[in-house]
């Protein structure tokens, strides 16, 4: 059956022979394909969930005040046996919400990064490429400049950031969309333009800010996690859950789009709808995340690349594994950020950039990874 290119006379156009039956022989390797794929999926996801749990425990233990395993255990199990439960307050009121926020923010950044890289077929895409983050930053800066940062009980800054992000989503979409379609090159350009304009406006706003507000803006821009309010935590968690479900539903379509748009459409992918969905989900999630944490760089760009090296490009595996990986990275980076110079803190964006930058350079210089070909 196998075609053997022969050097002898070609027999290509012999009269058509009687059509032989379609080969029914199963190759040994292929019978195990399905089992292998299913096993791999469960193995990888199980491993990632275990790693995430391990990272949560690790992050709970360390900080400005390192806890012993015994303290950690008694606090986690609420068995305080009469002692003053400082550990319980530290863990449940301070560290746990912040760690959870780190997990959510990291997961959101990584999953949107992975989805956008496939959508625009560009390895440098990250959640900030759409221009949403600059809009959010501008909103936050304006809120501070107007002295409205403290309204609505501490939610003022995130609220302004979210409004700014939302307006820039509308703006980017309005520039890029034409006749019901969302061309990817226009989307990228629109993101770059909105980024530039918002940055310029923000420069102007910061130039007239008083030093105290200026410090808050700078800190916010560097990307920081703090102990979040419970509504913010629930809001981000809810957005993340919805986004994961919506993106996973499009994950096979994203696989096809990553290889070629025309080919994907010929296979039944409604590319307009998929592109619009992925853009809107990514944009809203990014806006929500940026409004609570500022701009935390590199998580959204590096994590998907790392996961692709380990697990391949199939977005059905890539998206959830990226989410967990991003969550782990940000949790750990935040623990480092609040530990190394305790009781002071380093903005977590500095840590992620310091990890992410060299790692990205390493990826670029070792040519094994085809996304950079």
């Amino acid at each position: 059956m196998i075609v053997q290119p022969s050097s002898s006379q070609t027999t290509v156009s012999n009269p058509p022979m009687m059509a032989p039956p379609v080969p029914s022989r199963r190759y040994e390797g292929t019978a195990s394909w399905q089992a292998l794929r299913a096993r791999r999926w469960y193995a990888v996801m199980g491993l990632m969930i275990l790693l995430t749990c391990g990272a949560v425990v690790f992050c709970l233990q360390f900080g400005a005040h390192a806890l012993t395993m015994a303290e950690l255990w008694s606090a986690l199990t609420f068995s305080t046996d009469g002692r003053e439960d400082v550990a319980r307050i530290i863990i449940w009121d301070i560290r746990f919400p912040r760690i959870l926020m780190g997990l959510f923010v990291g997961a959101a950044l990584a999953i949107t990064g992975a989805a956008l890289q496939a959508l625009v077929r560009n390895p440098l895409a990250d959640p900030y490429v759409l221009g949403i983050s600059s809009g959010a930053a501008l909103g936050a800066t304006i809120g501070l400049a107007l002295g409205l940062g403290a309204i609505v009980g501490g939610l003022g800054l995130p609220l302004f950031a979210f409004i700014g992000g939302g307006l820039s989503i509308v703006l980017v979409y309005g520039i890029a969309a034409s006749q019901g379609q969302l061309p990817m090159h226009k989307l990228l350009l629109a993101g770059v333009i909105v980024n530039a304009v918002c940055s310029a406006l923000m420069m102007f706003a910061t130039s007239i800010l008083n030093p105290a507000s200026l410090y808050r803006v700078v800190l916010w821009l560097m990307g920081t996690l703090s102990v979040p309010s419970i509504p913010a935590l629930i809001g981000i968690g809810f957005c993340l859950l919805i986004a994961i479900v919506l993106l996973l539903r499009e994950s096979q379509a994203l696989n096809l789009l990553a290889v070629g748009e025309d080919a994907a459409r010929s296979l039944g992918v409604e590319s307009d709808r998929v592109q619009r969905t992925v853009f809107l989900v990514s944009a809203v999630l990014t806006g929500a995340v940026v409004s609570v944490s500022g701009m935390i760089g590199f998580v959204g760009m590096v994590v998907p690349h790392l996961v692709r090296i380990l697990c391949g490009a199939d977005h059905r595996l890539l998206l959830p594994v990226s989410a967990l990986g991003g969550g782990i990275l940000l949790m750990v980076a935040d623990t480092v950020a609040r530990t190394v110079v305790a009781p002071a803190e380093i903005p977590v964006g500095v840590i992620t950039a310091l990890i992410g930058g060299p790692f990205f350079i390493y990826l670029l210089m070792t040519r094994k990874y085809r996304f950079f070909a």
């Binding site: 196998i2 075609v3 290509v12 156009s13 994950s251 096979q252 039944g268 692709r308 490009a313």
Partner: protein, 299 residues
């Protein structure tokens, strides 16, 4: 051997494609005078593709070959005219139902993402995916894997299943793409330049696989190619296009004629008989023979 092509293909009550008065252009510039038809990529085309035949589409650059394939897969919609796929109006069919009948193998895909060959072939099962609450991400079932395996056996790429698509040779990659198209279990297979950039050995591979698949699965094949000789050897009929219209259509012996080719391509060519098959073979004239067209060995 010449009577081979004249054997009428399997008669079917309905042709694979029936194209009537088809016109298409990419931009919708309204400023042009209405009489000017030069902007049309496809210009009043009439075509019937019989079920079970291999139809080769040749013509100079920009003659609308690739656009025709895109129109027939509904990747673009025509401004005028109708296309029927096995009797059904193409415009009224859903993308999904078209993709269960027509497989399209495009010329340029991006191989930057580290997909394995098996990932790639399984993408061909997208039209048959089943969603649902418990299969949110759309994993393939046993029958999808069976179809993928069957397709990979057909194109002899089972041993490449877990290799990354980016590190395969051009010929292997083309066979993987062919397997992806076959995994769709199509009734019509459309190929845009399947042998471009392949060396002779791999060209032969792809062509033989194509011929075998055609014989075994009775699939209708539409093949766009710049390689007239290849089309002449492997196609039942050949469609020659120029400026978005049909110049002529028929068995290779009838349409591959120096006068036709000279008129279509604007340069002089030699046509003789292939030493093995007797089918027409085209060559470009030697340097000192630009003025004289030799016609020899025509069947």
């Amino acid at each position: 051997m010449s009577q081979q092509a004249s054997v009428s293909p399997i008669c079917s009550p309905l042709p694979a494609f029936e194209v009537r008065q088809l016109s298409f252009r990419y931009d919708s510039v309204r400023s042009r005078p209405s009489g000017d038809r030069s902007a049309w990529v496809i210009n009043g085309m009439e075509l019937t593709v019989r079920e079970g035949e291999i139809l080769g589409v040749i013509g100079p650059n920009g003659s609308g070959k690739s656009s025709l394939l895109k129109l027939l897969t509904k990747l673009v919609r025509p401004q005028e005219g109708t296309i029927r796929l096995f009797g059904a109006e193409l415009g009224a069919l859903s993308r999904e139902s078209i993709s269960r009948q027509v497989a399209y193998m495009p010329q340029d895909l991006s191989y930057d993402f580290p997909f394995s060959a098996l990932d790639m072939v399984l993408m061909g099962r997208f039209p048959y995916r089943r969603g649902g609450l418990w299969n949110l991400v759309g994993w393939e079932g046993q029958e999808d894997l069976a179809a993928a395996e069957e397709a990979m056996v057909q194109t002899d790429v089972t041993h490449l299943a877990n290799r990354m698509i980016a590190i395969l040779s051009a010929g292997e990659r083309q066979r993987v793409l062919l397997a992806r198209a076959l995994a769709q279990v199509p009734r019509v297979l459309m190929l845009d330049e399947p042998t471009a950039h392949l060396d002779l050995n791999h060209q032969l591979d792809v062509c033989r696989i194509l011929q075998r698949v055609h014989e075994q699965l009775q699939v209708t094949v539409l093949l766009v190619s710049h390689d007239i000789n290849l089309a002449s050897q492997y196609c039942d009929r050949i469609l020659i296009m120029k400026q978005g219209a049909v110049v002529c259509i028929g068995p290779p012996q009838d349409v591959i004629h120096p006068r036709v080719l000279t008129e279509v391509y604007g340069c002089q060519v030699l046509v003789d008989a292939h030493p093995d098959t007797g089918l027409p073979r085209v060559s470009l004239p030697g340097q000192d023979r630009h003025q004289t067209v030799a016609v020899s060995g025509m069947v």
